[in-house]
């Protein structure tokens, strides 16, 4: 997975194509994470999937986390995987206590279909436009 400097370079590249979509980065326990604007999460996921040289085409896991008492309280985690480089990258979208809602990423990652339903029932967000 990207190391600390590699993560910052990645953020810089995303900023060129999707300015302001990445709000922050986090690198701890040798795990890299991009904290993104929830309204633009699909832009970032699409960029990471389709941009040549990135290739995060596999969504391993999608789950919600409750960070009570922090605000924004909720987050949706996307655990992406580049299978060619054996690299993992987490994309994290923070959501407020009131009206936690985020766009469905089923169009980008069909595997999200079942997984998006799980967080919506267990703890945090509801995914808009998850197919019935």
């Amino acid at each position: 997975m990207p190391d600390g400097p590699g993560l910052e370079l990645l953020r810089g590249e995303i900023d060129v194509d999707a300015p302001g979509a990445v709000l922050a980065t986090s690198y701890e326990k040798e795990r890299a994470a991009l904290i993104v604007d929830p309204a633009r999460v699909l832009d970032v996921l699409g960029w990471l999937r389709d941009t040549p040289g990135q290739g995060y085409r596999f969504l391993s896991s999608l789950h919600a986390v409750d960070y009570l008492p922090a605000e924004p309280r909720f987050a949706v985690h996307y655990e992406l995987l580049n299978r060619d480089r054996c690299e993992r990258l987490r994309v994290k979208a923070m959501l407020p206590t009131e009206g936690p809602e985020i766009d469905s990423c089923v169009e980008l990652f069909p595997t999200a279909n079942f997984q998006e339903r799980k967080p919506s029932t267990s703890s945090a967000s509801s995914s808009a436009a998850t197919p019935n």
């Binding site: 701890e28 326990k29 795990r31 085409r57 596999f58 969504l59 391993s60 896991s61 789950h63 986390v65 409750d66 960070y67 985690h77 655990e79 299978r83 054996c86 993992r88 987490r90 990652f109 069909p110 595997t111 279909n113 079942f114 997984q115 799980k118 267990s122």
Partner: protein
Amino acid sequence: MADQRTFPQSLVDEDPALPTVADLYGELDSDRTTEVMTVNIGPHHPATHGVLRLVVDLEGEVVRDLKPVIGYVHTGIEKSCEDKSYWKVIPFVERMDYVSYFFQMEAYCGAVERLIGMEIPPRAKYLRTIMLELNRIHSHLVWLGTTALDLGAISMLWYCFRERDRILDLFEMATGQRMHTRYFQVGGVIEDIPLGWEEKCRSFVHDMPIRVGQYEALLDRNEVFLQRTKGVGIVSRERLLDLGVTGPLLRAAGEPWDLRKAFDYLAYPEMDFKIPVGTVGDNYDRYRVRVAEMVESTKIIGQALEALPGGPFISDDRKYVLPPRSELSTSMESLIHHFKLVTEGFRVDPGEIYYAIEGPRGELGCFVLADGSSKPARVHFRDPSFVNLQSFKDMAMDSYVADMICSLGMLDPILGGVDR
């Protein structure tokens, strides 16, 4: 009168010309009046391999639509984990996918160890690897026995459960329990293997490839089994990847993806083993891949037994690991550590981690969020059965309802893991 159809000498090399759906029912067209019947299969049905309900639209015997309905064994385990100290979570998580309990323990304990930055002793790594591979064989044996039973090969169940029982004997000897052993601990394993265990395990390693050969002798020339599996339930590699499918299902479609090779964990980097892959991605390939995996797992166990290092089987970091019983009567410090660990548990600094391993059904991931207390703030499992179930519709659409049952068996879902 005898069946006039002629079968080729070797069905392994050549497929018989099976009648297609169109042969039997004719081409469907808009003018034809057809009746679609919706049938509920399950949730309580032996062929659903657990408490799974299938809402199936049938046109005659042909599946035209399918919807899996899950949640009948939802236990709220992930939520319950938030109310338990870290070490008390272990027995909870191993009850999710109740057939591969060692894998659940490894995913959880490995995640916590990475959160606290703990390196486990080499002997613990090897012991865990051995137990995981025994558990993989155990899981595949349960799958093979029950799936062959679905297809009418009743004897397979008894043969598979005979070898499974030997594995459970090994688990019982090492851990005191046949299932849900609670053997893995944060920092290593709870006890060293007893005297005589290695010898008994070596005997199993010697016998198992012979047994696998016997399974193959029973099934590989069984015309019913071959006709029911070859060319049935094909899903392309690309589609499986889109759906997030991992494990033997993906490898059967020709994708050599295995986390044991891709990532460095436990003793796998030191092991020499192959990743069996299929070519077509049908139910027959799924069977072949799992059977070959049993042989590879046996090889791993043999190598790990040969190279099993000496030394401690659990970390000696007293902040996280219980002191040995013998120290309690001689060391006040140990007594305090013991009291603190048993009553409150250990604390983990704030942080979060996702740790994934190769389970018998694919990528088994565990996410743990620590908030600095002695209880995890969030535990989430990425269960491969849950994700893989999405591919079932692709496998079963436009096939006979009987083939749908075969495909479900080959999918090998464990509903305890799906529902959690």
